[in-house]
Amino acid sequence: MVKYNLVLALCFVFQMAFAAGPTKYRVFFTDKGQQTFSADSFFHPNALARRARCGVAVNPTDYPVYKPYIQATQPLVDEILMQSRWLNMLVVYTDEQRAALISQLPHVDHIAKAPQLQAEVMAKADQTAQEDQKEKNERYAAFQLARMQGERFTNQNIKGQKVRIAVFDAGFTNTNKHAGLAHLQIEATYDFVKDASFVYDYSWHGTGVLGCIGGYFNQEQLTGLAPEATYLLARTERHPGEYLSEEENWLEAAEWADKLGADLINSSLGYTEPRYFVEQMDGEYTLVSRAAQMAFRKGIVVVTSAGNEGSGRWKYIGAPGDADSVLTIGGINPFTDYRTNFSSFGPSSDGRLKPNVTAIGIALTASENGYGRLSGTSFSSPLVAGFVACYMQAFPHQNQHEVFEAIQQCGHLYPYFDYLHGYGVPQAWKAMGEDNPVETARWSLNWENDSLFLVIDEAYHQKHLAQDSQYLDKMNNYLHVEGHNGILAYYAVLRLKSRRTALLSTNDYEQGQMVRVHFEGITQEARIE
């Protein structure tokens, strides 16, 4: 009995170490009260212009939280951490008894305890190589943009002018001093972790991300496509170690970006386990995904990384990458042109296509040691963000829905897609309505007995064989089988070895399922009979 008491006492002491401090609650109000709201004085002129372009009317979700409601709630809380006008919500510290009282206030719709768990950082940056070789670095930087045919933008002096990009990250160390980023027009900064304006510290992650949006390597070679955009920098992450307050910081930053007229948000951040389960990646469950959806509804295009969990236990995309209207960006290996081993898998848990598109996942960008090749979907996301900014400059009258669809259709695999590559890497020649600069292959799909064959045109095959006998080994062939519910049952990337190749057998699939094959610029499909 004594021994049991001792064990119990030890457990009690142990659990006290894990006992929660002040409890965080989210207080949702019923309405915005009777208040006058002047959109003209509240929003930056660019925000009003974006709304007009996207057909987004000012509505009560834009009004601030009603001050009398805040004042009525204040005596019952220890601290108000943040206010959200989009969700009409306060995040507060209080205790259970006072929370019960708050819930009874007439203007409170409901109150929910905010989870207080530690989570892991999802977006990681590993410096793969310290390169002192200028020429090599120039080639890497050039390639990460050339893979998107980015010169189609830069040759026409499309570099993100008049586009406002908000960047959410863990910090932007030395961004204001780095030679590769000194040219950036940074209009506003805010640290939502510390409630301060200074953000040029805490993490090199954001510095590298900025380099992939609009940086230069040695003031000569672009590392991102949008060096002349206007930037709004927000620190929303505390790194290392993370707390669920970061999702609230993200929401607050998104409202701030909306108010200041951001056209585009890049968020190389993500939330996974142990905060959430994979089946909660449905675009609706997490606060940050709902915030990203709301930003899109306000006319802002949100670009986010798919995550680096592809070879880990989690495996799938995280939040906000699961949100429906967010461009979720996977990473591809620059040497193989297909998915990097860490890039997270789609789809979302409710079966929607994710990631949407991809970009190079090992990028040359600004780093702690000047420049470095950093790996992670953290850096494929800003490469696409730069692309999107250029597209928005080229087509300033398109709304957020049109931009979203256009970026997907710019994918080099479009209309083919899968849950690792999405629609592929966006191509600027597609965006500008130009001809494909690369010769497309000529081939056909033939059913023979129970097998589907890909047959390359003889003349095309002989021509390329004469140039390179191993040419087939350098070309990726993409194949997927779409199930009856629209979700892919199978997808693969393979390399052909002969002119006539059996791709699959119908015995392994159901009648009526659709097979799509993409090879060198052409997509063809065949239904399984």
Binding site: F18, L117, L494
Partner: protein, 246 residues
């Protein structure tokens, strides 16, 4: 002819080989389109969670109590309700059915119980003795979750609890190998009515597996309060392995 056949054989082999290797699979993924996406981790640390579980164990008795160690075993199946307090703690309510089969070797043991059995005219000739107890048990435990990522996973945990048992059936089979294996069976419940017992439990678990232990005071669910029969009740120490089904 032989050479032609050999050549044909080689060509056919090469042909088959080349078609088998006409493509290099770089990556492929089969998607289970019928099942929702799930992580591989077991067991949500949800606010409310109900689990079905089962367990097997061994009983250990007191010295000279006559229990044949290694032969006395138990089986249980139950339903566990877990109410999460916070990431590190939960409360458990377990209702289970257990059956304890305790084997006694009277010949090789000396003690109040075994001597008493031998002196009993009913049982004097019997050398081996099984006491089987069936019980409905209710266990209330406090769970401490030590897993590093315990926010949403069961992980590694320690349970400490108290258990109550309601005896629903008791049976003694006495066995005399010298007398053509004659057996005597007595159903205790018919003679003694309802029996209650209480004890303590602990478990150390990892995801759906756990090693558990139970302690019952002497005489739990015993035939009567007479010392000679108290030894046939639930043995004081039960140790076993448990598996949660979901």
């Amino acid at each position: 002819m032989k050479n032609r056949l050999s050549t044909l054989g080689i060509l056919l082999t090469l042909g088959a080989f080349s078609s088998l290797h006409a493509q290099t699979m770089i990556l492929e993924e089969k998607v289970d389109t019928t099942a929702p996406l799930q992580t591989n981790s077991f067991g949500k640390n949800s606010n409310h969670y109900v689990q079905l579980y089962t367990g097997l164990g061994l009983s250990f008795g007191r010295p000279h109590g006559g229990l044949a160690m290694g032969f006395s075993r138990n089986f249980s199946v139950g339903l566990r309700y877990k109410r999460k307090i916070n990431a590190a703690q939960s409360l458990l309510l377990e209702t289970q059915y257990s059956i304890y089969r305790q084997v006694f070797d009277l010949e090789n043991s000396e003690g109040i119980f075994t001597n008493g059995i031998r002196r009993d005219s009913q049982f004097g000739n019997y050398q081996q003795f099984n006491a089987t107890h069936q019980a409905l048990e209710l266990n209330i435990a406090h769970r401490f979750n030590f897993d590093w990522s315990r926010g949403n996973h069961l992980g590694v945990y320690l349970d400490l609890g108290v258990i109550g048992a309601l005896g629903i059936a008791h049976r003694i089979n006495a066995h005399d190998p010298l007398n053509d294996d004659a057996t005597l069976a007595i159903k205790w419940k018919e003679q003694t009515g309802i029996k209650w017992a209480y004890g303590f439990t602990t478990a150390l678990g990892y995801k759906q597996w756990s090693i558990w232990g139970r302690y019952y005071p002497e005489g739990a669910l015993a035939f009567s309060d007479q010392s000679v029969w108290r030894g046939a009740g639930l043995q004081p120490y039960q140790v076993g392995l448990s598996l949660s089904i979901n």
